[in-house]
């Protein structure tokens, strides 16, 4: 009998999880939102997405092949996820060359110089988005009006948040439903709350992420918004409308479900995740209400990304048997 005996320490079996499967699940969870974006903003959405993903993957490949000269790991799909998320944080009519610059920042500056997947302190897609926002403010904030018939044109060209900012706190409570299903302007991935929530449910069912970060983030935003409405806006129905508006507007859902939960840049314990989510929610609301930018999600996540090593150091899981 010609047997080869393999010897290794236990465990001798492995579960079905793999990095590429987890990344593929994130891509699948983003597909509903992408589909709604195509319906709302047209085929340009796919062009932006394709260029973003292709540039990210190609750049990661080039860095691994010619700079790292190590194993090629683009098939773990992490660059695909970065590319997709970057695209979804851009306006649908952004010039494609800006998309390529975004990919260079994401992969070439925010990810690979730190050692590649698993080592980057900041979410690459968000770092790129913020870079573009500062470098190309005009192109990054001119959102196309939704193209479908019957869509509200109240905010054509501007996002609800930007409009609210310009007019100081006014907002239309009656377009909450449109914001929910997705017929209003904005970065194209943010357009439909319903599609993003569908993705959230998928990620939860597949156990890709836990509920802690999104729920802590959105819960904090809602609570913050309600208190603000109660104190500064005279209470009444506004106490309900105002938080709902903030949860549906801008990047709140895309950010809390898909960006803040990025494994590499979020805490390792459930307690830490809650602290991190509360921080993101609070900073986002501060920027939205009192900052110069209409939107604060990207900045809030990046700021809390910086806190993650500290959170991991001091927030430990409850040890079995500890009193």
């Amino acid at each position: 009998m010609a047997n080869k005996f393999l010897v290794a320490p236990a465990p001798h079996v492995h579960g079905s999880l793999s990095t590429s499967r987890l990344m593929a699940d994130v891509v699948i969870a983003l597909l509903p939102a992408l589909a709604v974006s195509v319906r709302v903003f047209g085929w340009n959405v796919l062009a932006v997405t394709a260029v973003s993903i292709a540039s990210c993957v190609l750049l990661e490949f080039l860095v691994q092949k010619f700079l790292f000269k190590g194993p090629l790991t683009i098939n773990n799909l992490s660059a695909v996820v970065t590319g997709l998320l970057l695209a979804m944080n851009l306006p649908a009519n952004i010039p494609l060359w800006i998309v390529v610059i975004g990919a260079i920042v994401a992969i070439g500056i925010a990810k690979m110089p730190f050692g590649g997947l698993g080592k980057n302190p900041f979410n690459p897609a968000l770092a790129a988005r913020v870079f573009l926002l500062i470098a190309y403010p005009a192109q990054m904030t001119s959102f196309p009006a939704p193209q479908i018939e019957g869509a509200a044109d109240a905010f054509s060209g501007a996002t609800p948040l930007a409009a609210a900012k310009a007019q100081m706190v006014t907002f239309a409570g009656d377009n909450l439903l449109e914001m929910f299903t997705g017929t209003i302007g904005g970065s194209f991935g943010e357009v439909s709350a319903l599609a993003l929530l569908l993705g959230f449910v998928y990620l939860l069912v597949r156990r890709v992420i836990t509920w802690h970060i999104p729920v802590a983030t959105l819960g904090t935003m809602a609570l913050f918004g309600a208190i603000y409405a109660l104190c500064a806006l005279g209470g009444g129905m506004t106490t309900l409308y105002f938080p709902a508006f903030h949860l549906l507007a801008g990047g709140a859902l895309l950010g809390s479900i898909f960006m803040a939960t990025d494994y590499v840049t979020s805490p390792m314990t459930t307690k830490g995740m809650v602290i991190y989510g509360v921080g993101i929610g609070a900073i986002t609301m501060c920027i939205r209400l009192w900052g110069a930018y209409p939107e604060g999600m990207s900045f809030a996540i990046l700021i809390m990304n910086a806190m993650v090593p500290l959170i991991n150091k001091y927030v430990k899981p409850k040890r079995f048997g500890a009193r």
């Binding site: 009998m1 010609a2 047997n3 080869k4 005996f5 393999l6 010897v7 290794a8 320490p9 236990a10 465990p11 001798h12 079996v13 492995h14 579960g15 999880l17 793999s18 990095t19 499967r21 987890l22 790991t73 773990n76 992490s78 590649g116 997947l117 698993g118 080592k119 836990t210 494994y263 590499v264 979020s266 805490p267 390792m268 314990t269 459930t270 991991n312 430990k316 899981p317 409850k318 040890r319 079995f320 048997g321 500890a322 009193r323």
Partner: protein, 446 residues
């Protein structure tokens, strides 16, 4: 349904291959090798020499101190050697070799199958008999049972827990024992209750063995002293601390605390049967049920095997090794040890021989940690495997100690779940052993 409070994984239990096979008696081997160390603690001291004639059940080696266990002859014949032999990992250890001649038993052993339910012995007498029979925990940890039953001064046992969980995938030896030797198990349980002076016992069984739960409940009937508790299937529920938490809702504190500190004494289901045989039938621990199983094993079986029988004989009995690359395990796939020497004799703690074959026998390729936190989520002890393994790679032993490495039960949940295929437990285990050594050295200096 109850279960333990944190962590855990759900590997496919793969008990289907061997669960329907009734316990078969394994043929007696021509030669047996009996290691002097089949338990936690000091190796036993040999009491026989080359050329001695022995009978089944005769004492071969006596315990060396309190934390040790006696070893008896599983066959009758002539001692041909007392020397160093390679074990399953190929390392040499002290063994007694006996050439078998017939099957002649010590006449003081009651070999009838009549159930003797009555036990009027005192606590001390029961513990003495268990010690004399060389009984150790048969779930795999091989902790000497008489030590466990000797409740330290000032501590009090409140509940006896019989571990019929068998959470380790593939293995079915405890399951078959509960089904086929349930009456003996129940009497053994009552003897153990008497030995530690408790009125209540719980037999914990996972929900994937409903027939065993039903069968044991039938045997116990209306007697209120023993409860059979069905637990939610989740690995590593058979871990002593996890089982106590599932059954009693109490968490054993970090080492050096022991189960008795929360009022619990835990014994394995097969151990309870061995206790019955030792106390009621005067039969020492000389054989056990061993599951031989695997996806490509032709005839998976549960074999009642005398100690000292080589693993290779059991594999032959079950249709031989599958072709190609194999991992042959002493134990199950989560905590078993890979063998490179199939001459390894079956011992007290060997509940199964699992054969992993083909592609599954190979480890996956390690890739970068993506900090997904799955290992933290899976750890039933509330540790941070990603951090501990990183610290072990850096030899940061102090940091590992500060992060409670000594609480690790080496269940393997972290490595099982890791999507990047990082051999987390390899590093964690290395760190744990090193840190334990450092702690021992420090205590010795004091």
């Amino acid at each position: 349904m109850k279960t333990f409070p944190i962590g855990g994984v759900h590997p496919s239990d793969n008990k289907k291959w061997s669960k329907a096979s009734a316990i078969e008696v394994m043929e007696l081997p021509d030669v047996v090798n009996i290691p002097l160390s089949q338990h936690i603690g000091a190796p036993a001291t040999a009491k026989v020499a080359k050329g001695d004639k022995v009978v089944v059940g005769q004492l071969l080696a006596e315990p060396t101190g309190f934390m040790s266990a006696a070893i008896h002859s599983p066959v009758s014949g002539t001692v041909t050697a007392v020397d160093m032999q390679p074990n399953g990992q190929g390392l040499r250890q002290m063994m007694i070799t006996i050439k078998r001649e017939g099957d002649e038993w010590d006449p003081s052993i009651d070999r009838s199958t009549k159930l003797v339910a009555e036990c009027t012995l005192s606590q001390k007498e029961i513990v003495e008999r268990i010690k004399a029979a060389g009984i150790v925990g048969m779930g795999g940890a091989t902790f000497p049972t008489h030590v466990k039953l000797s409740i330290p001064e000032g501590k009090k046992a409140e509940l006896l827990i019989i571990n019929g969980v068998e959470c380790e995938p593939y293995l079915t030896s405890d399951y078959r024992t509960m089904l086929e030797r349930g009456e003996l198990l129940v009497v053994g349980t009552r003897i153990l209750m008497r030995a530690i002076g408790v009125e209540q016992a719980v037999i914990g069984v996972e929900a994937n063995k409903p027939d065993a739960v039903k069968h044991l409940r039938q045997i116990i009937g209306t007697a209120g002293d023993i409860k059979v508790m069905m637990l939610k299937t989740q690995y590593p529920q058979g871990g002593e601390k996890q089982l106590i938490a599932a059954v009693m809702g109490r968490e054993v504190p970090a080492p050096p605390a022991l189960p008795i500190d929360v009022g619990a004494v835990v014994c394995n289901a097969s151990t309870a049967v061995a206790v019955y045989e030792a106390v009621q039938k005067n039969k020492p621990l000389i054989e056990r049920v061993v599951t031989v199983t695997g996806a490509e094993v032709k005839e998976p079986k549960n074999l009642l095997t005398r100690f000292g029988t080589p693993v290779s004989a059991l594999i032959e009995k079950c249709g031989g090794l599958p072709e190609g690359d194999v991992r042959v395990l002493n134990g199950g796939p989560m905590m078993g040890r890979a063998l490179c020497n199939l001459a390894m004799p079956i011992m007290k703690g060997c509940s199964g021989v699992t054969i992993i074959s083909g592609e599954a026998a190979h480890r996956g390729v390690e890739s970068a940690c993506i900090k997904c936190a799955k290992c933290v989520e899976a750890c039933p002890m509330g540790l941070e495997p990603y951090l501990l393994s990183k610290q072990a790679r850096k030899k940061a032993w102090d940091a590992m100690e500060a992060n409670d490495i000594t609480s690790c039960i080496e269940c393997g949940c972290c490595q099982y779940t890791c999507p990047a295929n990082i051999p987390l437990l390899d590093y964690v285990r290395l760190g744990k052993q090193t840190v334990m050594g450092i702690i021992r050295a420090r205590n010795a200096k004091k």
